[in-house]
């Protein structure tokens, strides 16, 4: 799987190292309507090619944070840079290009109910303008990887919750995104399938994709060496060491 070049920004870390950030949040806040802020003062940078887990109690704002990451919402204050571009006030006409560089596994799967599993997985490639011939191979490969090769023609209502989740994951990774955002991706699968999916994520990460996984599953976190933890509590990011605001410099891993 060939990788696209990510245009991430590099920042001097003050210690002679360079950090290549794919996501930068500066003093970001989010509120719905006139209510209180559900996210407050988020300051962090996600290093290109790193693997992050986002954890926190229910209602802490994990899904809202992920929505900001995959450009489904705009912050009510602060600045957000993705792939080196400030997208806080970007025209909605330019957002699709950036969304295509992000794979998303939604908590509620968001599969198109009347499309087959194959067509659901193929959707990002078709939106990107790939022909049927170009779509066939990657989609079959991805369905096989998530164990659904024999369910390619099944429609979501006929699939179990776990199967739907795997289709959603296959759709999110089929276009080899530069950033993968997953909201509770193992919530509906057994431990064996969870391990397989984690293996898929780590394989994708080794190819250069930055991964952000929101999960309650402590086992998932502990079984992923090298992954970094982001803990969200009451809308703010716990960052006692400042490692998220100013990540330690380390060479970007060659994949």
């Amino acid at each position: 799987m060939a990788r696209r070049r990510t245009r991430a920004t590099s920042h001097a870390d003050g210690r002679g190292g360079l950090l290549s950030a794919i996501v930068e949040f500066d003093s970001v806040g989010l509120r719905y309507g006139t209510g209180a802020e559900v996210l407050r003062d988020l300051d962090f940078r996600l290093a290109k090619g790193a693997f992050y887990f986002l954890s926190g109690p229910s209602g802490a704002g994990k899904t809202s944070l992920l929505q900001l990451l995959y450009l489904a919402r705009r912050p009510t204050r602060g600045r957000i840079r993705l792939f080196g571009e400030d997208l806080t006030d970007a025209s909605r006409d330019v957002l699709p290009d950036f969304r295509r560089r992000i794979g998303v596994v939604f908590q509620d799967f968001r599969l198109v109910r009347h499309l087959s599993a194959f067509d659901n997985v193929a959707l990002p490639l078709r939106i990107a303008g790939k022909s049927d011939a170009e779509v066939e191979g990657p989609v079959r490969e991805m369905l096989a990887w998530v164990g659904l090769a024999d369910r390619a023609s099944a429609r979501p209502p006929t699939l179990s919750g776990g199967e739907q989740q795997r289709v959603a994951i296959a759709r999110a990774v089929v276009s080899q995104p530069e950033l993968l955002v997953a909201d509770e991706p193992t919530g509906n699968v057994d431990s064996e399938m969870a391990a397989r999916l984690l293996h898929l994520f780590t394989a994708l990460n080794r190819l250069g994709t930055t991964i952000v996984v929101a999960t309650h599953d402590v086992g998932l976190i502990t079984s992923t060496p090298g992954a970094r933890l982001m803990r969200l509590e009451k809308g703010t990011l716990a960052d006692p060491t400042g490692a998220l605001r100013n990540p330690p410099a380390e060479p970007v891993r060659a994949r």
Partner: protein, 292 residues
């Protein structure tokens, strides 16, 4: 998603299930196109009729004499025939005038002592100076009135022209109503497929890509509806207007609708389909822009 406008891929067709011709759109557009074509045909026929009448009287004038007796009619005819620009002089015989007047005064009501007005029809050459002709006749026959027939039929021509513009207004009104129906159909389709649209937006589809899916479907619905409406209108025009056309050819030497008019009418269903497509695209894009 690279297929051309009318060449949707199977995958694109699967994205918006439901197929074409299932909603009210084709039927509404068929009815609107039918009415538009009938009204437009009536408007064009009225315009042609006004043109025929106007052309027929364009160079025709009438010389009215309060009393044509004692050789005054012959004097007027002789004077008119000598004038430059006058191409024909046609007096109405006194007997005919008397018969006409007896409709009002009764048989034998016109005695020898009562004056009998006289009328002379004149045709002027195109470009002839009507004012000069009028002045010459006034000098030769004092008391005579020189009247352009165009002025006489002006109220009729005015009515025909007003009806023609009324037909244009009605066609535009129908087009507006068709557009409104398409906007409603597009919004309804968007609501039906809202979840699919949200998913497509979420994974990077542009507004234009999504709009193209809807506009293709609505365009096909509109085209089929417009062609059906046009076919029914053509049949109705043939049945209703067929006899009138033969009569008009005999009386005026022309048909109510000319070749150019028929071409214009034939373009109407295509125009309706194009209008529906553009309106659908604008409505869908406008609705999509309200999304985050």
């Amino acid at each position: 998603m690279k297929a051309s406008f009318f060449d949707a891929s199977e995958a694109e067709n699967r994205l918006l299930p439901g197929g074409t011709f299932r909603g009210p759109t084709p039927y509404v557009i068929a009815i609107m196109t039918f009415v538009m074509m009938i009204v437009a045909a009536a408007g064009l026929a009225l315009a042609n009729a006004a043109g025929v009448v106007a052309n027929a009287v364009e160079h025709r004038y009438v010389l009215q004499l309060p009393d044509g007796r004692d050789g005054k009619l012959e004097q007027a005819v002789t004077a008119a025939r000598t004038l430059r620009g006058v191409t024909s002089v046609e007096p109405v015989p006194e007997e005919q005038m008397r018969r006409t007047l007896e409709h009002w005064v009764g048989p034998g009501g016109l005695g020898e002592e009562l004056p009998v007005p006289a009328i002379v029809h004149l045709d002027l050459a195109p470009g002839a100076n009507a004012s000069a002709v009028a002045e010459s006749l006034q000098r030769a026959i004092p008391g005579g009135r020189f009247i352009a027939e165009q002025a006489t039929v002006q109220p009729l021509l005015g009515s025909l022209r007003a009806l023609r513009w009324l037909a244009v207004a009605l066609v535009l009104l129908m087009a507006a109503a068709t557009s409104a129906a398409v906007v409603l159909a597009a919004r309804s389709a968007l609501d039906t497929h809202r979840s699919t649209i949200d998913i497509m937006h979420g994974i990077g589809a542009t507004d234009a890509q999504i709009a193209r899916l809807f506009q293709r479907k609505i365009a096909l619905d509109a085209l089929v509806g417009a062609l059906a409406g046009a076919a029914i209108a053509a049949i109705a025009l043939l049945i209703v207007g067929g006899g009138g056309a033969a009569l008009a050819r005999d009386v005026a030497g022309t048909t109510p609708l000319r070749t150019g008019d028929l071409f214009l009418l034939a373009l109407m269903p295509l125009a309706a389909a194009v209008l529906a497509t553009l309106v659908a695209r604008a409505a869908v894009l406008s609705a999509l822009r309200k999304a985050p």
